[in-house]
């Protein structure tokens, strides 16, 4: 839909929005201009400055600063909502549950990929502006919203759950211990933060597409289901290109659901792919049931449309804007 966003080259005008006692609704935010917001008088206590990436893809993008009154327990998403309700009604943000259950509100807070509904202001240094930017690996749409549709397209290429045709559900039995691991994978809320940080996807330098950690997790959940019959190893190797993953664990680090993506999903899958007969029990099960794995006709993965590796961080002071504040901190690009 839109071309890749390059935050490093974002427009650098900064708008300051400060709480005042003016009660009239504010006008539209125009770059470089100090505008006044309607704020209840009692809110004039501690404030945090949110430096929010704004603008539409393909147009002038910029950081805007908002001074937001701080309440106890406030999370970044609360602050963004405050901005919507009081200063910039058009601020584009995705969210649904506000409880870390839906995976909608992903963004980069001070350079760290986070769920904004789970990022407490009290854990951040409020003396500095808090930068909030969209996930950088996906094409930008507006403000904090990116185009994540590629992920859905990858998902469609995975062979779904395939139970044995001759074993009715009424006879399915397995122990809780058999599915603990599986349930870990199924906790995934599809926030796409792992996809966002994976350097294979970010650097965009591979010849063929890579499915990314989220879909390795989904595939692991299917492959390790006690009675699933499909063999997704050829798919993982040939189409998903699991081989591109070099186990840097950046995905695991950002997963808000604490899924051990690399250790529990990717490494075991890599082992299975390396030795298709790695798992003698499963193999025996398939032989017994008379269904040897066949090579599924996988569908090609779509090409990743993501952003280029960004240059230096945008520095809002660089072209003489009137905002007080420092530049956004270093962002974690490459695996450490």
């Amino acid at each position: 839909m839109t071309g890749p966003r390059q935050p490093g080259e974002a427009g650098r005008a900064v708008t300051v929005v400060e709480p005042t006692e003016v009660t009239a609704a504010s006008g539209p935010a125009t770059a470089g201009q100090v505008i006044e917001a309607a704020v209840p008088a009692e809110a004039a206590g501690a404030t945090a400055t949110l430096r929010v990436f704004r603008g539409e893809a393909g147009q002038d993008t910029r950081f805007e600063d908002f001074a937001v009154p701080v309440q106890e327990g406030m999370v970044v998403l609360d602050a963004l909502h405050w901005i919507q309700g009081n200063a910039a009604p058009d601020l584009a943000v995705r969210w649904n549950c506000k409880a870390a259950k839906c995976g909608s509100c992903s963004a980069e807070v001070n350079g760290h990929p986070r769920l904004t509904c789970k990022t407490r202001l009290s854990d951040l240094d409020l003396a500095e502006p808090i930068t909030v930017e969209p996930m950088r690996s996906f094409p930008h749409i507006r403000d904090l919203v990116t185009d994540v549709s590629w992920n859905y397209a990858v998902n469609r290429t995975i062979q779904p759950f395939t139970p044995p045709a001759d074993l009715p559900q009424s006879e399915w039995r397995w122990q809780q211990a058999d599915i603990d691991r599986l349930q870990e994978f199924r906790k995934c809320i599809e926030c796409f933060l792992c996809q966002d940080v994976c350097h294979v996807l970010r650097s965009h330098e591979t010849e063929r597409p890579f499915m990314g950690p989220r879909y390795l997790v989904r595939t692991a959940g299917l492959e390790m289901h006690p009675i699933d019959q499909a063999d997704r190893r050829p798919y993982l190797k040939e189409l998903g290109n699991i081989g591109y993953c070099n186990i840097t664990k950046c995905c695991t680090e950002v997963c808000p659901e604490h899924i051990a993506i690399t250790d529990n999903a990717i490494i075991p899958l890599k082992e299975r792919v390396a030795d298709r007969y790695y798992d003698p029990l499963r193999w025996a099960w398939r032989v017994l049931r008379g269904r040897l794995p066949e090579l599924p006709v996988g569908r090609e993965l779509p090409v990743f449309p993501g952003g280029q590796p960004p240059a230096a961080s945008a520095d809002p002071q660089a072209d003489g804007s009137e905002a007080a504040g420092t530049s956004p901190p270093e962002r974690r690009d490459e695996p450490s």
């Binding site: 539209p28 999370v75 909608s104 399915w172 397995w174």
Partner: protein, 605 residues
């Protein structure tokens, strides 16, 4: 408008991709229809994803003597006998099959020791009945259905909001909406339309619901001439978070009480003992000791002769109890009461309630394995909704169907926990099939009336073009304030009349609302249309609540504190749009109950 509008032709258009919409889409697809599925958020983010505790179905895996008959009775009793009995019957009978089907599509439920789907106890259910996955059952459900729908090749239109239904000679034949990412209009032509848009919680300031819950389906149906029933019945879940302010209203799953959570007031008193309804006291434990025996047995999924703890009374009752404790000055520091599960082993609590553990730890700095939570009532669910036919989900308007939370009748005056997820599956499937059958009989191709399209287009553009006016957030704040204070847990005639007047005011303000800065992903502009729907729905709630001069289930009138079976038993409130465009509220008798079902209710009727 010069450029042609993007148009998609389908047989069945399903609006909403929560559990109900997804299940309906799958059923319609299986019946041979070409299906389009539309949702406001990304796929997989609908409210269903947030459901925690489980889905109720009389599988009998933990309590072998459970049966559809008992589930039916529990549902009707919980609903204060205002449920559509045929819906409650179909639901109780078909839920087990629908849950098993979910497993066969890949859902991975928690297990019993003999390797089958585990079931947990919940308020108002006579037996442990809720199939679950820890406290993230909704995620398991939506992911399973989503993967199923995608693998069937159903077309999904995500981040697309429907603002108008289009009608023609044979009833509803399409829908008009816009893409949220670009703001561009999109039109669907359809031979049948299913509404599965969920609830209305955003009408209140304290709610467990997200921005999506603006009653769109309710309002779309109402505008199209359909009837809404039981709108006065809004469920206030007894346990929402109360502190810190940013999370006020966020749900604390009933599973905490299902697993043994104890409610106490400031003085440490287990106050639910004082609020059990006399006629049901026999179903609950008589002492702390008996309640604790029940908890121990339940935590090992063992049968027991102990009766359930008083905290597992129905939601309406527990909410009122908490409200009264707080009002009488016996609340916790932040205006709630204490809910304590920390007396159970920490490992057990973390395993059974992992996301509650995280939620309190991360958002409130409370370790629930070490100390109590602070909780209070939060707006959670709307029992009222679009009137539907139990068998097919057909509304009172041809070509228009509804399922899930936006449909009315199934839950009567109060929904039991866990009965929603199973409702989505049972009636999602029936409604999808019903809509597909209707579409198959549709004569010719739908004709999309250009006049209706133009009106729809014009109303989208107006707020963008206005040069001054207030923004929709201001209206939202005032609406939520009005509903929260005047149409909450306890209601009076004077408050409700005041609310109706204020809503008229808000509607007038809404007409002049302004949303600058373009159409592309502009929440301020999107909110304008959500607000129109919320104003309509709030008026329906207030008018129905004013009409029902008794207290029943979730509807409590201070001026009419008693149940009045003679005047109001077996009577549904009905709201519809009069020919002059005003809202008309009346009543209609409940769907009659077969003798055989009535017998199941025993002394309860």
């Amino acid at each position: 408008m010069s450029e042609p509008i993007e148009t998609h032709a389908v047989d069945v258009l399903v609006i909403g991709a929560g559990g109900a919409g997804l299940r309906a889409a799958i059923a319609a697809h299986d019946a041979g229809a070409r299906v389009g599925l539309v949702c406001k958020s990304l796929l997989g983010k609908a409210h269903t994803v947030m459901a925690e505790g489980g889905m109720a179905a009389a599988l009998g895996h933990v309590a072998p003597d459970d049966s559809w008959q008992v589930h039916f009775r529990d549902t009707m009793v919980g609903g204060k006998l205002l449920n559509n009995p045929r819906m409650a019957e179909l639901h109780a009978k078909e839920a087990p099959e629908r849950v098993r089907e979910l497993e066969s599509w890949g859902a991975v439920f928690d297990r019993t020791t003999d390797g089958r789907i585990l079931q947990r106890p919940f308020g108002g259910h006579s037996h442990p009945r809720l199939a679950h996955v820890g406290d993230r059952t909704g995620l398991e459900m939506i992911r399973t259905l989503q993967d199923r729908a995608v693998s069937l090749g159903i077309d999904v239109f995500m981040e697309c909001t429907v603002t108008r239904l289009i009608s023609g000679a044979h009833g509803i034949c399409g829908a008009y909406g816009y893409w949220r990412t670009t703001g561009r209009p999109v039109v669907f032509s359809a031979k049948a339309v299913v509404l599965a848009t969920g609830g209305i919680g955003r009408a209140y300031s304290v709610t467990s619901n997200s921005w999506e819950y603006s009653g769109d389906g309710h309002a779309l149906a109402y505008d199209a001439g359909a009837e809404l029933i039981d709108m006065e019945f809004v469920q206030f879940h007894p346990t929402g978070m109360v502190w810190p302010p940013g999370v006020r209203g966020l749900l604390v799953t009933e599973a905490v009480r299902g697993e043994g959570g104890i409610l106490r007031n400031r003085d440490g008193r287990r106050f639910m003992w004082d609020y059990l309804p006399e006629d049901r006291r026999g179903e609950y434990a008589a002492t702390d000791e008996e309640a604790e025996r029940w908890v121990r047995a339940a935590s090992r999924s063992q049968p027991t002769d102990a009766r359930r703890p008083p905290e597992l009374s129905t939601r309406d009752n527990v909410s009122r109890a908490i409200y009264q404790e707080v009002r009488d000055g016996r609340g916790s520091p932040h205006g709630g009461v204490f809910l304590d599960i920390s007396y159970l082993p920490a490992d057990h609590v973390r395993q059974k309630l992992p996301s509650m553990y995280d939620q309190f730890k991360e958002l409130a700095d409370v370790d629930i394995t070490k100390g109590p939570m602070e909780v209070g009532p939060t707006t959670h669910y709307v029992m009222g909704g679009i009137r539907v036919d139990a068998e097919t989900g057909a509304t009172t308007v041809a070509g228009l169907f509804a399922a899930g939370e936006c449909a009315g009748g199934m839950h009567g005056g109060n929904r039991l926990g866990g009965n929603s997820l199973s409702d989505l599956l049972v009636f999602g499937a029936r409604t999808g099939a019903g809509a597909a059958a209707h579409a198959a009989g549709f004569p010719g191709t739908p004709y999309l009336d250009p006049v209706q399209l133009r009106v729809a287009e014009r109303e989208l553009g107006e707020p963008l073009e206005r040069l001054d006016g207030e923004d929709a957030y201001a209206i939202q704040r005032d609406l939520q304030e009005t509903m929260q204070t005047l149409v909450g847990i306890y209601r009076t005639e004077a408050d409700l009349t005041e609310a109706i007047a204020r809503l008229a005011d808000l509607r007038a303000r809404w007409l002049a609302v302004r949303a600058p800065n373009g159409r592309a992903y502009n929440p301020g502009w999107n909110l304008v249309f959500d607000m129109r729907n919320l104003i309509t729905v709030s008026e329906a709630i207030s008018r129905s609540a004013r009409q029902r001069q008794e207290s029943r289930g979730a509807h409590s009138r201070v001026d009419y504190p008693d149940l009045d079976d003679r005047a109001w038993g077996g009577v549904n409130s009905v709201v519809h749009r009069a020919s002059d465009g005003t809202m008309e509220v009346g009543t209609s008798p409940l769907v009659s109950m077969r003798e055989e079902l009535r017998a199941l209710l025993g002394g309860a009727h």
